[in-house]
Structures are given as structure tokens and as C-alpha cells.
Amino acid sequence: MAVVVILVLLAVGSVLFHLLSPWWWTPIASNWIYIDNTITITFWITGIAFTAVVLFMAYCVLRFRHRPGNIAAYEPENRRLEGWLATGTTFGVAAMLAPGLFVWNQFVTVPQDASEVEVIGQQWLWSFRLPGADGKLGTTETRNIVPENSLGLNTNDAAGQDDLIIEGGELHLPVGKPVKMLLRSVDVLHDFYVPEFRAKMDMVPGMITYFWFTPTRTGTFEILCAELCGVGHPQMRGTVVVDTEEDYQVWLAEQQSFSQLSASTETRAIPGKVCSGVPSGVATEQGTGAFTLFEEERECSSPTATAVAASAAQ
């Protein structure tokens, strides 16, 4: 009998937890309310199925538990019942899949008027790039990355010169305008994730991925990395601020373009801040001996690293 009570409590308790607990999704700040709706539909269908199965089991245990003289029925198959159950399940599954695919079609269809913003992930920092006055982002190449061109823009691509570069700072977006997030990584997998926007997508070195959304309310939101990217993964946070159009324009005017940044780095070189020049292959491959997490200034060719490299080469 304990089994029956526990099964009923478990089913009822799960439903009550779902309805009454304070833990529920954070208020949405994007157009993907459709995703929330699909989740709600799925909760209803699966919740009913779960409760029904568990309660039916509890009933069976109560009604057909072993007692003296109790004899089980002998019924190997019941084609009709099996057919009905299979058909019902198929409809339930279709009721979840159809809205799911419908919304997915919206998710993968980027509106024509979406503006482009590039997000660059690296261990463990977010950077952003916005198109300049020409409305176009210049091309990039991981091989181009050097200290004075940390996002790897192609310097001979004119479209890139006026691109606005935001390294490690906040990203601002105007409210109510669709935006296509172009995602790029220079080292390992990352994932651009803002819980309030509902959308997320991995960032893969060697390719550019994307998703789109429309911010629907102003505010400051936290960017998380959602794909394991090494020991600093939980600390890889950023901030995205959704502004009114006026505030956005003010912010936009404050940002520096690629050509402005290049000009300033040429005049004031920062010795020791980052390794100057790209070191030789062997040292890079093996030189991890002197690596410490979040070290402000990283030595590239420390004696330890060179020693490791030398011993590995032998």
C-alpha cells in the first residue's frame, strides 16, 4: 500500500511543484515568445501523459496486487487497444512537433531588414563589432590576429575600416529592431547566451554561425557562455544593454572604428602587455608551462616554456 500512496504523492507532488514553486523562467525580452508558448504546450501534453501513466500504475498496484486467490488474466495481445494507443500518441507528438517546426522556420529565416552585429568569443572574453557608416562588416581571418588587430580584420578590406570595435566592453542594441548576431570564435567553442532572449548559438572557430532576434524591452542583460570553453567558462560574462533609439545613437557615436584604433595603437605601443610578434610554432604548441588563469600579463617565451618545448622536441 505504501507503494500506491507514494506513487500518487509523486504524481500530485510533481504537478504542485510545477504550479507552485517560485522557480520559473525569467521574463522574456525578445520576440521569441513563440518558443515560450511551444514550451507551455509541451508542458501540458507531457504533464498529462506523465500524471496519467503514474496514476494508472498506482491504480493497478492497488487493484491487482497479490492477494490469496488472485489470478492474473491471460491476454497476450490486444491489437485494437495497441492500435488506439499508438494513434493517440502519434497525434500528441504531432501536436508538439508541428508548432515546434513552425517556430523553427521563423527562427532560421532572418528578416531582410535585420541589422548585423558580430560577436567574437575568446577565452574568456566577449568582443563585438558593428558595421560603420557603410552598413557592412569587413571580412576577417583568424590568421590576421596580432596584438594591434585582435579581431583579425582584413586590413586590405575597405569595408572593415569603419567597423566599430568593442573589445571586452558592453554591447548596446536598439529596442524593437531585428538583429542578426554573427558569431565567431578565435580559439575554442563558446556559446552566446542571454537567458532573457531565449535564443542561443554556439560559436565555432573556423566558421561563422548566426541567429536572429528582436529585443522587445529596454534593460541590461547578462551574457553567459553556454558551451564549455575551459576553466574560465563560468567567468566568461558580458553585458548587453537594450536602449531606446536615442540612447543607442548616443552610445554608437562614442565607439571607435577599426581605423581609429589602428592609428592609436601605432602611436602608443604597449610593451609587455601582449606578446609581440607571433612566436615560432614549436614554442606555441608546447609552451603552456607558465600559464596561469586570469594572469594580467602573460609571458610567451618564459624559460620554463622554452625548456618544455626543447625537451618535447628531442
Binding site: 509523486l10 567553442l189 535564443a199 576553466v231
Partner: protein
């Protein structure tokens, strides 16, 4: 009503081959250590898997201590935390669940249930275990290498798995892990071929495929899948080892690591994910299908009723096995692969829900109008249905591509897969051990300890993983050593995390009681006799308990009926063994 007991009244086919002589051990070493007897190999597989599983259990405690009480335990820093989650995941999925279901239960049950004297290739079978043991040792050794084990997450995604930002990436950890997996797959292949060929070629006279117990169908189908899926993991491991050791670029594009250009270029990280999940999704069912099969037999036996819809159950196993090879990319909806793949993989994934649901219906319909004995195996079977239905239904969230977008990489995923391929199959493992322990040892497990073990494990595990879904719904990402301050969550989730951790410690402790019971009952358990559950399948009809070398004495059994003749109207007992020719006569009478 359709009669599924196919072949009743047909003449028995003559034996196709003569009974062949087995290898007989000549010394203690060849009898108990380098044994070629599948039953001994099964016990070796089982004890090794449980031993390494205890390491994974201890790791889960450490993981939960960190998540429940962040900052309290200085021992668990970020590097160690990632090493713990990686080793916990890999051990549980590969070295415990796969090894225990196929190497453990497969070895013990296949020859006995199909009526064979042993596996068809006993020597390869023995090698399979020793190579598995080597793989386990290599894996365990990585804890003691410079830099410690890999902390790349059990999915081992490159490039981070082989770079310096990940523990073990530039040290020994990842090399040991990949080597261990390669060794495991080599060993598994030897065992796997054995299981498949034994089921196809080693069955007793009269044991048609459609008379096989569902346990055998589950293990057989899972083994076929494993033989097709593991090669994808094998090549992925070899390629990543080359990338790490020889400087190739299979999975490595141009990379700037911490400001330094690496000498890689042109590779694809997503290629690894496709290879990994082409193995990884079938792997879910490699664990689940044996559990499906075993639980069907537990429910049928302990409800004293034939499994409902046997043929549908067999076809569901086969269809799930087939479909599971075309759903792998549902693990990759937000991986950056072409988003249009989402339509195809969401559809195939949700289609798989239909045969899976049919299996659930048939289990509960077997209970319906049964004669349910609430024995420990039955209790664990009920717990399996509850946790499997729960975990299976949350799979409909994650499989439905657009719903996966907000939930992917959050604690919802962690809760889902623990419920569906952690808790549920382990409930079956427990049920199966309580069920077959009397056959393996001749004694029953202690009932009181078993009851305590059951209630803590079942309710505790549900209390761990059910609320965890809601953490993911809020947006708490997985694989965070410490969430810290986050604007989108209320501080009350700290209490929820602490509650989950306390539950995890408790459930872990209950497993120690279970291990104690396993040892204690060897000597002090009640004498079981040959067939304590009054079951129909062949393993319970052996002349000796535990079964002797060669299983069947002089004469191989002959099979006259399907495995589910429980409570047949008109029969004198509520079960008719498979090797009994007519309902009235018991098999041991027929033999004498």
C-alpha cells in the same frame, strides 16, 4: 485475440549441429581468473564495472558538494571540478552502464536464456574482459598523471579538449582518456561479436527468435547497435590523438590561443561532434534497450502475467534501434551546423517517441489485471517506469528543435539525461541484481536492506533530478563550477541546490548499504533454490544452482513455448517453463 505463442504444436526441428565439447579449465587460475566461462566473465565484468562506478559515485558527491555549497570546499577548485564532471560522465556512460549491461548481464544471461552451454567464442570472450580491465586501469591511471585527468567534459569537444585552457588538454589527461576509449572499443568488439553470434547461432532447439525473452532481444539489439556505433567514436578518438600528438588538423581550424597563433588550420570542430554523436545517440539506446528488455521480464515474472503485446515489444526494440541512428544531430541543434538540419532531426527524434511510448503502455498494461507481487525486482521495475516516463517526456522538449534552443546546455539537459539514462537504467540494474542474484549465488539478497535501499534510491533520485529541470528552465547553464552573481536568477536557487546536494549524498550512501548487502548475503542470505521466483525462462531451469560449467548437465534443453506462459488458464501452476512440453508436466518430472 491473436495467439503469439508461435510454433505450438509444430514438430521440433532436428539439432543442426552436434553438441560440442567445451574448453574445460584445469587449474584454479583458468577456472576463476583467466576463465573462459561466460558466467565467470560476467561476474568479472560486473565487479569491475561496479568498482569503477563507485569512483564515479564519489565524484558525483564532490560535484554536488561544490554546487550545493559553493566556496565551502577549497579542494574543489575549477580545474578539479571539470575533471570530476568529465570522469564522472565518462565512467558512468561507458565503463559502468555499457559494460555492466552488455558485458555483465549479456554474458551471464545470453547463454543461459537461449539454452547454450557458453558463448560461441569463449577465448575471445575472455580477452574481451581483460582488455576492458586494461581500459579501466588506463582511465583510472589518468588521475595520477601530471596535470591529472582531462577536464574537457565527457563529450571531449575539440579544440578545447586539446588546448591549455582545459585541465589535461596539454598534459596527459586527454591522451589517457582517448587511449582508454580506444582500448575499450577493441575489447568490446570481441565481446559484442560473441553476443550477436551466440544469439543467432547458439540457441537451443525450439528457441525461435520470436520465443526469445525480451531481455535477450534488448541485449542483442543493443550489441548490434554498439558494433555499428562504436567505430565512429573509435575513429574520432584516433583522429583527436593525431591532432594532439602529431600536429594534424582533423578537428583544428586556425586558432589563436591566448594571443598565440597555433600551427593548425583547416580542420572542423563540428566534424568531431557529428562523429561523437553518431556514436553518442545510439549509445543512449545501447544502455536503454537492455534495460527495456530486462524490465519487461521483471514485470512479467513478478506480475505473474504474460508481457502484453510481445511482438509489438520486439518490433519496438528493433525500430528504436534503427531510428536511433538517424537522430544524432538533435544533440547539435545549437552547434552551428546548418540550421535546416533541424527540421529533419526534430522529426525523426519525435517519431522515436511513438515506439517508445508503446513500450511504456505495454509495461503498464502488463500490470493491469495482473497478480502483482511487490517484490524488490517489481518495486525497482515500477521505479524504472516512473523515472523513464519522466525522463522520456522531457526528451520531447529537447528533441523539438526550437524548444531545445533556450534549454540546450542548461541544467534542464543535465536533469533530463540523468533521469532517462542514469536513474532509469540503474533502477533496472538494481531490479535485475535482486532478481538474478539467487541464480548467480544460490542465495537471496536481504529483504530489509533491500527495502531501505529501494526507497532511498527511488525517492531520493527523483527528488534530485525532478527539481533540477527547473534550474535549467530559469537558465542556469550546465558545467558551471560556480554560477556566482547572475541577474536573471533569484538567490533562492541556492537553497534548491543545497537540497539537491543533500539528497545526492543520501542516495549515494544508500548504495553503500546495497554493496554491503551483496557481500553479506553471499554467506548469510536465505537459500534460494533453483527457481525462487517461479519464472519460465530457461536460466531458472538449470539442473544446478548456481549453474555449473556447461550450464545444462548432459542434455541441452529443448524449448516448447514462448517465455511468457504465466497464469495460463487450466494449467496446474501459474507458470509453465519454456522447456516444458505440455502444460501439465513440470520440466524436472519430464527429465526424470
Amino acid at each position: 485475440m491473436v495467439d503469439v505463442r508461435s510454433g505450438i504444436g509444430e514438430a521440433l526441428p532436428p539439432p543442426e549441429v552436434e553438441d560440442v565439447e567445451l574448453y574445460h579449465p584445469h587449474s584454479w587460475w583458468t577456472r576463476y581468473v583467466f576463465s573462459q566461462d561466460a558466467k565467470i566473465i560476467a561476474i568479472q565484468y560486473g565487479t569491475t564495472a561496479i568498482a569503477i562506478g563507485m569512483v564515479a559515485l564519489a565524484l558525483s558527491w564532490l560535484i554536488r558538494l561544490q554546487l550545493g555549497f559553493p566556496g565551502t570546499f577549497e579542494l574543489i577548485d575549477a580545474e578539479r571540478y571539470y575533471q570530476f564532471i568529465t570522469m564522472h560522465g565518462m565512467i558512468m556512460v561507458i565503463y559502468l552502464l555499457t559494460a555492466l549491461f552488455l558485458g555483465g548481464f549479456g554474458n551471464y544471461l545470453i547463454p543461459l536464456m537461449v539454452g547454450a552451454r557458453d558463448m560461441v567464442f569463449p577465448y575471445a570472450n575472455m580477452l574481451s574482459y581483460w582488455i576492458y580491465l586494461l581500459a579501466v586501469l588506463v582511465l583510472a591511471a589518468s588521475f595520477f598523471t601530471p596535470g591529472g585527468p582531462t577536464g574537457a567534459g565527457w563529450t571531449l569537444y575539440p579544440p578545447q579538449a586539446v588546448l591549455s585552457g582545459t585541465p589535461g588538454g596539454r598534459d596527459w589527461g586527454i591522451i589517457m582518456m582517448l587511449s582508454s576509449l580506444i582500448i575499450f572499443i577493441i575489447g568490446f568488439t570481441m565481446g559484442g561479436l560473441n553476443y550477436v553470434v551466440t544469439v543467432l547461432q547458439g540457441r537451443a532447439r525450439g528457441m525461435t527468435l520470436m520465443r526469445l525473452p525480451l531481455t535477450v532481444w534488448g541485449i542483442f539489439t543493443a550489441t548490434v547497435m554498439a558494433l555499428l556505433a562504436f567505430p565512429a567514436l573509435f575513429v574520432a578518438c584516433v583522429m583527436m590523438l593525431f591532432d594532439r600528438l602529431l600536429g594534424t588538423s582533423f578537428f583544428m581550424p586556425a586558432i589563436v590561443e591566448m594571443g598565440e597563433q597555433l600551427q593548425h588550420g583547416g580542420g572542423s570542430p563540428i566534424l568531431f561532434q557529428h562523429l561523437f554523436w553518431f556514436f553518442g545517440h545510439p549509445e543512449v539506446y545501447i544502455v536503454a534497450l537492455p534495460a527495456f528488455g530486462i524490465v519487461s521480464d521483471l514485470i512479467s515474472t513478478h506480475a505473474r502475467k504474460n508481457i502484453f503485446g510481445y511482438r509489438m515489444m520486439v518490433w519496438a526494440i528493433v525500430v528504436i534501434g534503427g531510428l536511433s541512428f538517424i537522430v544524432w544531430a538533435h544533440h547539435m541543434y545549437v552547434s552551428g551546423m546548418n540550421p535546416y538540419f533541424g527540421f529533419f532531426f526534430a522529426t525523426t527524434t519525435l517519431i522515436i517517441a511513438v515506439p517508445t511510448a508503446i513500450k511504456v503502455y505495454n509495461w503498464v498494461l502488463t500490470l493491469w489485471r495482473g497478480n502483482i507481487h511487490l517484490t524488490l525486482p517489481m518495486l525497482f521495475a515500477l521505479a524504472f517506469i516512473v523515472t523513464f516516463v519522466n525522463g522520456g517526456l522531457t526528451g520531447l522538449f529537447l528533441g523539438n528543435v526550437v524548444v531545445d534552443v533556450p534549454l540546450s546546455d542548461t541544467m534542464f539537459v543535465v536533469a533530463h539525461f540523468h533521469m532517462v539514462m542514469g536513474v532509469a537504467p540503474i533502477m533496472v540494474i538494481f531490479g535485475a541484481i535482486y532478481h538474478w542474484y539467487p541464480k548467480i549465488t544460490g542465495r537471496m539478497l536481504n529483504e530489509a536492506m533491500g527495502q531501505i535501499h529501494f526507497w532511498i534510491s527511488f525517492i531520493g533520485a527523483y527528488a534530485i533530478f525532478f527539481p533540477m529541470h527547473y534550474l535549467g528552465l530559469i537558465g542556469v547553464p550546465r558545467r558551471y563550477h560556480e554560477l556566482g552573481e547572475a541577474s536573471f536568477v533569484s538567490t533562492s536557487i541556492a537553497e534548491l541546490n543545497a537540497f539537491i546536494s543533500v539528497m545526492a549524498l543520501l542516495v549515494g550512501a544508500a548504495q553503500i548499504l546495497f554493496l554491503f548487502n551483496l557481500v553479506w548475503s553471499l554467506r548469510h542470505g536465505r537459500e534460494a533454490g533453483g527457481n525462487p521466483w517461479r519464472a519460465t525462462t530457461l536460466e531458472w531451469q538449470t539442473p544446478e544452482t548456481p549453474p555449473a560449467h556447461g550450464n545444462w548437465g548432459k542434455e541441452l534443453p529443448v524449448v516448447y513455448r514462448w517465455a511468457y506462459d504465466y497464469s495460463v488458464p487450466g494449467a496446474p501452476e501459474d507458470f509453465i517453463p519454456q522447456n516444458q512440453p505440455t502444460p501439465g508436466r513440470l520440466s524436472h518430472e519430464a527429465a526424470s
